[in-house]
Amino acid sequence: MTQTPTIGALFIKAVVLLIAAGLLFAPFLFQDVRALEVAARICVFIVLVASYDLLIGYTGIVSFAHTMFFGFGAYGAAIALKQIGNSWGAITLGTLAGMALSLVLAVAIGLLSLRVKAIFFAMITLAAASVALVLASQLNTITGGEDGITYRVPDLFKPSTKLFTDEAGKVVQIGGVKLNGKLAAYYFVFATSLALFIVMLRMVGSPLGTVLKAIRENEARAEAIGYRVVAYRTFVFCIAALVASIAGSIYAVWLKYTGPDTALSFAIMIDILLMVVIGGMGTMWGAVIGAVLMVMAQYYLRDLMSVAAEATAGIPLLPHLLEPDRWLFWLGIIFILLVYFFPKGIAGTIMDKGRRT
């Protein structure tokens, strides 16, 4: 008695596999610095969005503190690298410190407020996140304030590091790609993100995942058949916070810079929300698709528009509308259209298609 997957679900899984392959070979497929930045950001945001989906999509918890946990991880790694030096020990220590802080806050917020109504919980997370943001910009001596912190990362990740050398002592190239520290850093980001994503994928398919869905669907009945709803909610809130925190640490190592704009701002929270809505709530695949589309749009929509503006140079009005500076306007229109035509998000809507009964 197994349920046959829909054609749409198979299609989405195929797309996700393609994306995974694309990210795996990204340094070889897209050989420029910016493309690698985009690929690394996509990896980190897939993890961040998927962990947020554990809350909002699987369990029905609305939190605005997800960037706070991301920020704890990022600042943890950043401060450790700055203060202790560019060692692996510093990364480990910073990551663990970020996770510990995230865990303590997640337990506290969870136990104190997951009993109350969803709206109050959302407000409390918003307040906590605001406090974290203010603290990060006020505690100049530790966090670097608005300017953030720049630091060096382990030598393995330096662009000048040669992973393999030939007889002449030059760095080995494969398909024109230098096997240098930058490549190592990318694969560090890729492998950690993949591992975290697989852990979450296992979780949502486990008995725990079924309980989370039950809580989302009908909290009172889940309690009545014997699930301690508050305990499950607090647990998943902690897991999501820990994953976000690790994602923050990875991103800090990749960027070699951590500041409010890259790790803590509410703009990131809004990005996460948009990604989860566009991709589709309640499915891990949605996180992948949402993160890919959104990050790509943020990086390439302007380029695409300037090409379009040039191509339409002879036509009245159009070039003005397609002015690259108006990219946010077009992004907004794309969002509205997506939400209209894909009410359950791209993955959610497509996966419902072709249901075979």
Binding site: T210, V211, A214
Partner: protein, 254 residues
């Protein structure tokens, strides 16, 4: 006589000035099916909520097999063997029928905290869920979302969830409400089946007098939150006080 499995002592709840359940003291025994009757607003469902924990008592106690459940959450009471089906259909609407039942089985097994192995791999849970699927004759719709079922099947699923909890105390709140005449007997047969197990205690809120007559070992009457009468079916059915309550001629107050 066997020891009571479930006892309520002076069980009371007030909402502001309104006393919805007022000092209800009674005991229920294994192997006994008690039907709780009373007009609308008598406090039958509220009394159920106090036993299964959806509401907390203002006064009084709920005791099961000597353990005081009064301060416990609904989930803790479920683990102590209190099972409850709801009057208004109360399912996991987007999950399939089989998933609904498996959740109830899994809640009992304690596997909800397993976070690594795939849920589908817990074949013993699935096998148990399928047993209740068959018992309630829902096999044909096993993979449909609960929300897509016709009302009668949703009521059956409600009963299946309760059975899958494998409780000691079965509480049914108008299990056949809104069901067609073809479907109601299925549910009543299930309840009659549970009744044959001498270790199980069954509480049933029901209005339909033919159902009451067919199933009841004992009837208690609630009126304005108070326990008005308690006795064998024949005795209660023929008593003047019950007729008065149902016909609205009660002198207690309307």
């Amino acid at each position: 006589m066997t020891q009571p499995s479930l006892v309520t002592e002076d069980l009371t709840i007030r909402f502001g000035g309104h006393v919805a359940v007022n000092k209800v003291s009674t005991a229920f025994r294994p192997g006994e099916l008690t039907v709780i009757v009373g007009p609308n607003g008598a406090g039958k469902t509220t009394y159920f909520n106090l036993i299964s924990g959806q509401l907390s008592a203002s006064e009084g106690r709920v005791i099961k097999d000597g353990i005081d459940l009064t301060g416990m959450s609904p989930s803790a009471r479920a683990h102590h063997g209190i099972g409850r089906a709801f009057q208004l259909t109360n399912l996991f609407p987007k999950l399939s029928v089989l998933e609904n039942i498996r959740l109830a089985v899994q809640a009992q097994s304690g596997d909800g905290w397993r976070i690594w192995r795939a849920a589908a791999g817990f074949s013993e849970l699935t096998a148990r869920a399928e047993r209740y699927l068959e018992a309630t004759r829902l096999n044909a719709v096993a993979h449909q979302p609960a929300a897509a079922l016709p009302h009668g099947d949703q009521r059956k699923l409600e009963v299946a969830l309760l059975m899958a909890m494998e409780p000691d105390i079965y509480m049914f709140d108008e299990p056949t409400a809104g069901m067609s005449l073809d479907h109601a007997p299925d549910v009543l047969d299930l309840i009659a089946g549970i009744k044959t197990d001498p270790t199980k205690t069954v509480l049933l809120v029901e209005h339909k007098m033919d159902v009451v007559r067919a199933l009841a070992d004992r009837i208690i009457v609630l009126h304005n939150g108070e326990l008005l009468a308690d006795g064998a079916p024949d005795e209660i059915m023929s008593s003047q006080i019950v007729r008065d309550v149902y016909l609205g001629k009660s002198g207690v107050s309307a």
